[in-house]
Subunit: 390 residues, 4 copies
Amino acid sequence: MGGVFRFLTAGESHGEALVAVIDGVPAGLPLTEADINGDLARRQRGYGRGGRMKIERDQVHVLSGVRWGATLGSPITLSIANRDWENWKATMGIAVPEAGTAKKEVTRPRPGHADLAGAMKYGHRDIRNVLERSSARETTARVAVAGVAKRLLAEFGITILSHVTEIGGARIGELSIAWDELARRAEGSEVRCADPSAEAAMIAAIDDAKAKGDTLGGVFEVVAVGCPVGLGSYVQWDRRLDGRLAQAFCSIQAIKGCEFGMGFETARRPGSGVHDEILFDASHGFNRSTNNAGGLEGGVTNGQAVVVRAAMKPLSTLRTPLKSVDLATKEVVEAVVERSDVCAVPAAGIVGEAMMAIVLADAFLEKFGGDGIDEIRHNHRAYLDSLKSW
Amino acid sequence: MGGVFRFLTAGESHGEALVAVIDGVPAGLPLTEADINGDLARRQRGYGRGGRMKIERDQVHVLSGVRWGATLGSPITLSIANRDWENWKATMGIAVPEAGTAKKEVTRPRPGHADLAGAMKYGHRDIRNVLERSSARETTARVAVAGVAKRLLAEFGITILSHVTEIGGARIGELSIAWDELARRAEGSEVRCADPSAEAAMIAAIDDAKAKGDTLGGVFEVVAVGCPVGLGSYVQWDRRLDGRLAQAFCSIQAIKGCEFGMGFETARRPGSGVHDEILFDASHGFNRSTNNAGGLEGGVTNGQAVVVRAAMKPLSTLRTPLKSVDLATKEVVEAVVERSDVCAVPAAGIVGEAMMAIVLADAFLEKFGGDGIDEIRHNHRAYLDSLKSW
Amino acid sequence: MGGVFRFLTAGESHGEALVAVIDGVPAGLPLTEADINGDLARRQRGYGRGGRMKIERDQVHVLSGVRWGATLGSPITLSIANRDWENWKATMGIAVPEAGTAKKEVTRPRPGHADLAGAMKYGHRDIRNVLERSSARETTARVAVAGVAKRLLAEFGITILSHVTEIGGARIGELSIAWDELARRAEGSEVRCADPSAEAAMIAAIDDAKAKGDTLGGVFEVVAVGCPVGLGSYVQWDRRLDGRLAQAFCSIQAIKGCEFGMGFETARRPGSGVHDEILFDASHGFNRSTNNAGGLEGGVTNGQAVVVRAAMKPLSTLRTPLKSVDLATKEVVEAVVERSDVCAVPAAGIVGEAMMAIVLADAFLEKFGGDGIDEIRHNHRAYLDSLKSW
Amino acid sequence: MGGVFRFLTAGESHGEALVAVIDGVPAGLPLTEADINGDLARRQRGYGRGGRMKIERDQVHVLSGVRWGATLGSPITLSIANRDWENWKATMGIAVPEAGTAKKEVTRPRPGHADLAGAMKYGHRDIRNVLERSSARETTARVAVAGVAKRLLAEFGITILSHVTEIGGARIGELSIAWDELARRAEGSEVRCADPSAEAAMIAAIDDAKAKGDTLGGVFEVVAVGCPVGLGSYVQWDRRLDGRLAQAFCSIQAIKGCEFGMGFETARRPGSGVHDEILFDASHGFNRSTNNAGGLEGGVTNGQAVVVRAAMKPLSTLRTPLKSVDLATKEVVEAVVERSDVCAVPAAGIVGEAMMAIVLADAFLEKFGGDGIDEIRHNHRAYLDSLKSW
């Protein structure tokens, strides 16, 4: 939930709406629905998505917590209607539907999904009761929540970007470009890849997988620029920012790993080639010439960009289905096929941005306290000033 | 903190003692200090450790919550005394020491540590005020806490093991052996490596780094065997077990990444080569022939072994020190050298076991409720029975 | 938020809707909107309410978490639309309204409300930004949430009732009637009072206050019948059920005190006249002949009815206004008058039921674990059986 | 646990030690053991206490988190040794004792205690396994924790006092004296009563109860002076400060009710006689001439003194025992007699101060953020300054 910036999301994949309630947003933050819709649209793009993305075209509706263009300090409700609800009302409605109006129950669990474990845990015989909530469709609500978090962070000079570094084995090369240029390039790419030659290889890999009825995963990187020194803490394990970010990233559907800065590669190099030496000059204060730590030392931000990468497994629903067992008959069957995307890594990167923003907003509010934007601005500035003459 | 099995640790690296208080342990669990001391000893072994490990020889003292060999249901206090406290009393005592009795203040922050960011965050001028708590010495308390968690899990047939898969670039090969054989071999190895040829390469790498005054990181794997289907949940992001495990692992000092099952490799393979097909036979129920998911689908345990790997960066304190800047003088200096280990990956694996045990104990108690061991045993068995005929 | 049954509410008093998201409700619980609407209607009744109650006529809409008449285990969204929204859209909308369409800003803080402290805390100049959320209208969402909690508790034989014991000084006498008869009488009374002569005095007091432009408070009692022994715990202060109930009751708007069982009166009697002696008979097990403890000993339910009373202060908005100071001009003024009820104690009793249900549902799920109703039923029954032969 | 200032306590009544670990205390706060020992001693005084109080003479030992007279920002461990441990080692030790060395098991549950419900909940046959933790002895650890909280609050001009207003029916009259004079008088009274004539009546009541082998409860009042406007919040039920204080007070052993400001009396008066009118003058800003609200409006501090009263029931262990039933034999027996105090209300007032301090410290840190005392001081001052020119 988060400690200060806390929220709950709700909603089934084909239910009436996705909803989120956020508590802990300070008062006086300028906020419009457009601030949120931008990322909802970014989440729906990407080469290799199937037909449903077109139906969705998500739009947020703000139901509470914002008045006349600014937050009130009271909880914010975000709702994203299901544009296809009329077609799903019988199947997903609260009331028992008339015979013959609802879709059939789902009894063939998909490997790689919560289908089987979820059915057993909750005692469901119809797997639809599981998959409707375990679906990555739920991340739409997180992206909406993060629209608020990003708006808050932006007020304090913190921006978040993402790009895809790998799809189906095709990887980017070294890129020696500024973060904003990287972001600009990623935004312009159908696979959110900033390296044109890798981009072409990724698209080819997706086309190839599509032809084979297969799916692909990949790796994306999320970067937060402008974080002050001192978010998170080393004093208790659950306050370390690296741990909190890891939870946030690995809670995204289909993510099977995450790493910070140089990540797994640090396990393969000597210490002399890993740690970022400390520099100082009178005009900029303490600084580094490298950022292998990914902006986190001892679980605390060190003033460098926070860099997290996450590995996404291939989508679990293959057009050429995997083998499974029918829950009712116990016969060997092919797993149900719910949708037909080939690759969702570009979209997952936007969800990664969302989780980064949510964790940072929470840690930011913890550090600086305050209930209104002016008060927080004051606390933030005074802290930064104290570091300058440190 | 955890939701049911919650705890706080305390204590400075050279302070009087490390302490943990655990709330939420059910009543009637058999527990002795020996149950905990075993892992404290395992954490202190390992090729490539410096001299201090010999002084430490940690022993837990149980101060509350256990009576006549069994838990009471009330909070458990664990204390591990610092055997070298007399030598540190002046430096780390509560009272201001007499002039000349304490060690000098530390003003040269080490790259890779919380030293600089921690000093700025908390307003410390003496870096000792940071490093004493940010030190990995704190994990001793977590390992002690996990002694209780493991004892609880063992009662329900869940066991946890670890082994080292990589140090300084030397990796294990494919190992097609049973988990208990793997554990047995790791226990017998100075680097906790179950593959003899990799073990030799790891030891050579450590010797080489030592000769160069350098340090090494690596990768360890932690495995939980015997988890029931249905721990964790997909219904809300912060209840997903993968996320909770990721936080736990990435909150370990020096960990820069973690992955589940096939992990980052899933990003490179097609879906048809990743997902674990679902099988069924009348005597064993649902099963799998592969476990690429690492026992977690949709953030929920699926009955297979839970498998997590974590990447540890090289130790930040090099005998050949890194460049830094003195906090007081702002002059370029060499970072302070606090201790002299070359590689702590084998020990980190024990800490990884600890975090796995803590997260699983929490999720287990959430799932099964109950306040006494007999009550929990009843709930657990009834659930397992219901799955058999599922 | 609660630990297992956790929720957030949102919505301004004259905003588009009130919303709640509940996480942690088990799967398989039968639930309809009617289960919730009953209490929404009960909250809106009561002698001494002003005109707005008629407009409200609250109806819940379930947006997620329920399918075909039963819960899914996924989060439940409840929404209660503001039937008067069209008239408030300009004043409370997200967008800046056209000039002249919105109500004027509020600058005269009301004594007894959050108006002044809230404006200062959040930096609001228009008190509407405070009062729209601090209003007791918010309790509508809690009552809706409690509809779900009550439905869960009912499944396990736990029922909750309330009645008014005092309004404006008029009190009920000794009532030696069964709980269900008490509830029946309270339901039939305009002031929810089960004692006809006290009821008449309460109504007279309300009429009198109304004539004087004044307001009245009172006391209500909430009773939970059927709780098993062992909810809550004494092992850590924040797990004691009496504390958790006290938070819940004293978090209701306008509540200035609460008490358990004999309550404040226990402070005036000797121990021999307070404690409930312990009895036993073979057919019913352990029992008591009195319940001065109000069902709670040591912060744990003891199997007797849980009895809580709360004191509500008079409404803060008087038709004959109190003195205040204009925020903008700093001149002495009369406080703003937002609405015109004389007494809301009967309604507050329904909110008290809600908070009781929410706390008990949370404690119940903690004790019995489980994710589906069948699993919980099994755990519950096994525990009760174990006590029978205790 | 609290959100920012969070802690766990541990320890059995006759165990080796009571322990608390506190997380979230900022760095740079001056702290000595004497800051804590003062209140430990105050908790042990009071007319009507039995013999054990003399043995206890509690002294805290700080094991972590403090160095050279100031906090480090890392967790603080407090330990209070049991001075009588040698005599209890066999009975309460971790190891199974040698035959004949331990006290007999307890099988006669005391009405009014957790004895019976606790035994059933946790499955204990020996009630000692319950009473050792449910005992009010545990509050010693809370008082120690509050020593740290009070030290923090004092740094920001917030002080907390308490006095006894009622024992066994004897009550204080109107006292029109300043808070510091009230505190001074209470400190000088054996029953912590500031009204000399009531004090005499209280002592007489205690003597009388003692002669009869009976026990007495009473009421104490706790006051926090100097709280800034704006602690707590109305935006979500669980953030309201009145609710949080109510939980804290009603979590104290033997407390059966609490009230704020005019409390239950507000239920009996018209609104015109309850709400505190708002005043303003140029030199002091907004103010009130009465404080019936007890410093809390809408769940938020309003700048007036925070005033809470709590009702304590008579001690449950009477020298003339209550009737009970033996757990083993199911025969009617007299309840076990563990100790022999007649009245503990004066001591409970000190525990009340502790809970007030703990809740306020938590809310204070939430509001002002910050990690070091200097940073917090800056944030606090800037907020207060902004209110002056409000």
